[in-house]
């Protein structure tokens, strides 16, 4: 049975919110920061999805195109038909990951990296980012002051009244195990873990296809990660 992509997109409530009917005016592209930087045209995303053309949608799901959007939502502010290409993009990205299409594009493959960092942080720390994982060597752009903060974490956070990794309230407190276990349960019940596993599953298949394997021929995800980080 042929998978109808457009029908799948429509199952997401956000598609109805993001796409009322597009009249091709281009106001979204005019103001889009990603359109200034990449070969990207949010108007054509709206039009393509609106057309319901299965081939074109399938091509989109496999392309870098849907990963250019920076989710600023400047498009939503201006659209004279109350559409929101940024929201349409989120729906496309979800389907791209669910179907595995994301591994076909360089930028789509990066979802694996985000899942392994931000995704892991949420469940491990209860924060999206944590000072311990913001290593200066991975973030030279953060500058020498951040390096100083990183190298003197507890002294610095203490000096401004934060509670780094401490019990009780305060900035950067340790999130208690009971709370973290609630987060994990939430992720399990609401299909959050399912998405992580889906990303992992298709990324492993891609790693094998790319020959990034261990001695047993299984996916070597460390090699895959390193490969993705230098892919331009």
């Amino acid at each position: 049975m042929v998978v109808k992509l457009y029908a799948q997109l429509k199952e997401d409530v956000r598609l109805a919110e993001g796409l009322q009917a597009c009249m091709n005016c281009g106001i979204c592209t005019a103001i889009c920061p990603a359109a200034e930087y990449y070969e990207y045209d949010p108007r054509s995303i709206a039009i393509t999805v609106q057309s319901g053309n299965e081939e074109k949608i399938a091509a989109l799901l496999k392309s870098d195109t849907i990963w250019y959007c920076g989710q600023c939502m400047s498009c939503k502010t201006r659209c004279p038909r109350n559409n929101c290409p940024g929201l349409i993009i989120s729906v496309l990205r979800k389907l791209s990951q669910e179907t595995g299409a994301f591994t076909e594009s360089r930028m789509g493959r990066q979802q694996y990296l985000i899942m392994k960092t931000i995704g892991a942080n949420i469940l491990r720390f209860g924060y999206c980012v944590h000072p311990t994982v913001l290593k200066p060597e991975n973030h030279p752009e953060q500058g020498p002051v951040w390096k100083w903060v990183f190298e003197n974490k507890h002294d610095v956070y203490d000096s401004v009244g934060a509670n780094l990794d401490g019990d009780g309230p305060g900035a950067m407190r340790k999130i208690a195990e009971t709370d973290l276990s609630e987060l994990l349960k939430i992720f399990k019940v609401s299909n959050g873990i399912k998405l992580y596993e889906t990303i992992e599953h298709f990324s492993q298949i891609k790693a094998v296809k790319m020959g990034l394997v261990d001695q047993n021929g299984g996916a070597d995800m460390e090699k895959y990660t390193q490969y993705l980080l230098q892919e331009v």
Partner: protein, 378 residues
Amino acid sequence: MAEQIWKNTRSIYYRKFKMEESKTKIKWSEYNKEIADDHFFYLRSCIRQNFNPGAEKVFLSILQKNLNKDIFDDPHHTTCSGIGYHSDIVPFETFQTMVARQFSLMGERGYKNCAVSCITSFGGYNEVLSTWKDYPEELAKARENLRKATGREFEIPENLSHACDIIYKFRNEIARQSGYRLINRETGEPLKVVDHIGCHYAKIFPEKGVGGSEYSRVLTGMIEAWGGQTVDYPERRHCCGFGFRHYLVKNNRGYSISNSRKKFVSMEPYRPDAILTNCPGCNMFLDRWQYTLAQMEGKTYGGGTNGIPVLSHEELAGLVLGYDPWKDLGLQMHQVDVEPLLKKIGVAYDPKQKFAGKNGKYINKPLFTGCINQNIPV
């Protein structure tokens, strides 16, 4: 939703349509949104806690000590996972359930109003609330998910305001209590402050921003109440470029830095004395990218070797109220030096305490602060 807008505006026409089909004409310059007065449940920001933890402590102090407000800091709340949601690794269903848990904690403590620290959260909470209003089946699913996972129930908050809304609301009282004004002590001229509004504050739901989305008043109101002058420049509304996945994945950072650069180039001719932000991400990026650009291009956009100091609304409010720049506000964690701004305002500070620990003992210091290393001969 349309009724709420009508209650809060002196606008001209009103019809009972859903926002998408509404024919409401709103004169945004007169638009005031509803901001709760007291009894807040604080929802912290991952980014602000990581990079500017002093700001959140000061916000609580300002509300509790300066404004005598009741604001509760619950250690059991967590990330809302908004950054994960906008990088598309956290599904909408999960994000809704995470938000529901935050509201459950709020209700458990007996609160009905939220004070939100992060702009991504603010946009996300509003997106979820709007979804639940228009799609009751999504709300039902969120209730079921949260119950199944944690046994929790939750109520919809009566009011959800961002921390900057609250500071805005009490800006005149803050001015009244302040010993400092945003005026150059040497020249007597008002300081020129660029306001940078985080995209998710008002671009998604203009009716959730003070003054709408184009000429938002939440930060300009503060600047003007405290004696400063706002700067309008062509790329004022441009995104700082965080772009979520565009920063999180190091390969994509060119996007992030280019967007900020566009803003700096545009604001440079106006020679601003400071940049004021409400989003913790923007606060961090506009600070760090000035340093990174200086390393790449050899120039700054504020003239000289330092750059333009970037402060958040809590940091600036704390500054004019006389909180200590290092111990309370944690401004030493900024890359661009804030001292030029402190000198202009006339804020008293002890340079020796900048890199001191809690006990006043010197920790050590970063290789350099500001945008360009002064110690290396050019």
